[in-house]
Symmetry: C2
Subunit: 222 residues, 2 copies
DNA sequence: CGGACTATTGAGACTCCTCAACTAACGTGG
DNA sequence: CCACGTTAGTTGAGGAGTCTCAATAGTCCG
């Protein structure tokens, strides 16, 4: 068994019997776009694993601003609560399906299946590193750099049949809330990227990468 | 057993037998200030639990800038690697002691002790939320707000015999690298806080809180 | 006492945010 | 089929805040 193998794909790390154990205990949630899976402040009774689709985990600040803490993709674990209450709200961006596993069930399973627990630890550690990486990006000032980084992240996390074509399932507002920018700054950043022929848009929700090298340089921690 | 209990204190969550299991398998690391526990890029062979002291987990960017991804306090778990290699460097800020547990050992232990695995999951999930919370703070612009948030974080994570007195074990540079600010901005922020009589310094590494209400307001996600 | 390091303060450039107007796309209802 | 309202996205001008460069204190230690 490899120690801490990447983390992108939880299911690939699980043996068939482990998968069966989990999926047998799970309820399948079919969420349409905009469906709220759970709300911040509500009591937590289950953890979730995303199977398909994209969701957002966000928090509304006292100022009225909304910040998206993470986009949730396939195989991501979410719903790990604090003191028994969820701290974030999770809402579907696209049509999505998730597995819902009651807390006491998952605890029982892990109690008897330590190997599975290690896989979870690896997965959550991966998400922790993702979060830290994002903090690095937010720490920079350049709006174009932040957008470039998001594009690369989406490219890495979403399946893309055509090379150099990236889908953006989320709106500009959501991008802004995720990157810690104003909506306008996101728009200006995409305009600049387009103007410099680094990317081109096929409509507002699909991007073609024209100049990979420049994109990488912008996304890198320059 | 409570589902996901806070997370601040790992050891308090463990039964005596669990603690014995862990500490028996652990090597104790005594690190003087500035001692490097491990370096980014090196192969990972163990995970660590901080017992006493403060450390920093950082990464040097291609630009030459250094960003601190997390301060490590007592009971924090660190050293969860990516693909078998550490991605961050961990260095002691103060004199510190840590437990070092080889990877294969911890995996064997967790394999046979699912309950312990759940405690780890809770702990890492807690660190994940901490990281997300920090992302929120970094996303704001106000330097004073960021500094105020750091002060409150230190107050919460470090033992302080005297109320309203907070130790800052780290230097201004380290604060800047953590908050994503320039050193000068940190200095100006502390000056403003002092000028407005919200805090006062007993030397550069100790703060007295004079106006708790204002500090809270600044630190809040206003 | 000198030297190295840490911390503070000042002036100008740069970037983003806010407020605002404008365009485009879409669905509804007449 | 078209007018209309709503939502999403783009673009512009001014103001706020931080970053950089630079110079000035303060502190620890030999």
């Amino acid at each position: 068994m490899r120690a801490t193998e990447g983390g992108g794909k939880l299911r690939r790390l699980l043996t068939p019997s482990q998968q069966k154990l989990l999926w047998d205990a799970a309820t399948i949630i079919n969420a349409d776009a905009r469906h709220v899976v759970y709300r911040a402040g509500s009591a937590s009774s289950a953890i979730y694993i995303c199977n398909r689709g994209v969701l957002k985990s966000y928090r509304d600040l006292p100022s009225g601003k909304r910040r998206i803490l993470a986009f949730v993709f396939a195989d991501d674990v979410f719903g790990l609560a604090e003191n028994g209450f969820y701290v974030n709200t999770v809402q579907a961006i696209t049509k999505a399906t998730c597995y819902r596993i009651p807390l006491d069930t998952i605890m029982t399973i892990l109690l008897e299946n330590g190997a599975l627990g290690w896989q979870f630890i690896s997965k959550i550690a991966y998400e922790l590193r993702e979060s830290q990486r994002r903090t690095l990006v937010i720490g920079r000032r350049s709006a174009t750099g932040r957008v470039a980084m998001l594009l690369k992240m989406l490219e890495a996390r979403l399946a893309h049949p055509t090379p150099d074509v990236i889908d953006l399932p989320m709106s500009r507002s959501e991008i802004a809330e995720f990157l810690g920018l104003s909506l306008e700054s996101v728009s200006r950043a995409t305009s600049r990227l387009t103007y410099h022929q680094i990317i081109a848009f096929n409509g507002p929700h699909q991007v073609r990468v024209l100049n990979r090298q420049s994109l990488d340089r912008l996304a890198g921690d320059l």
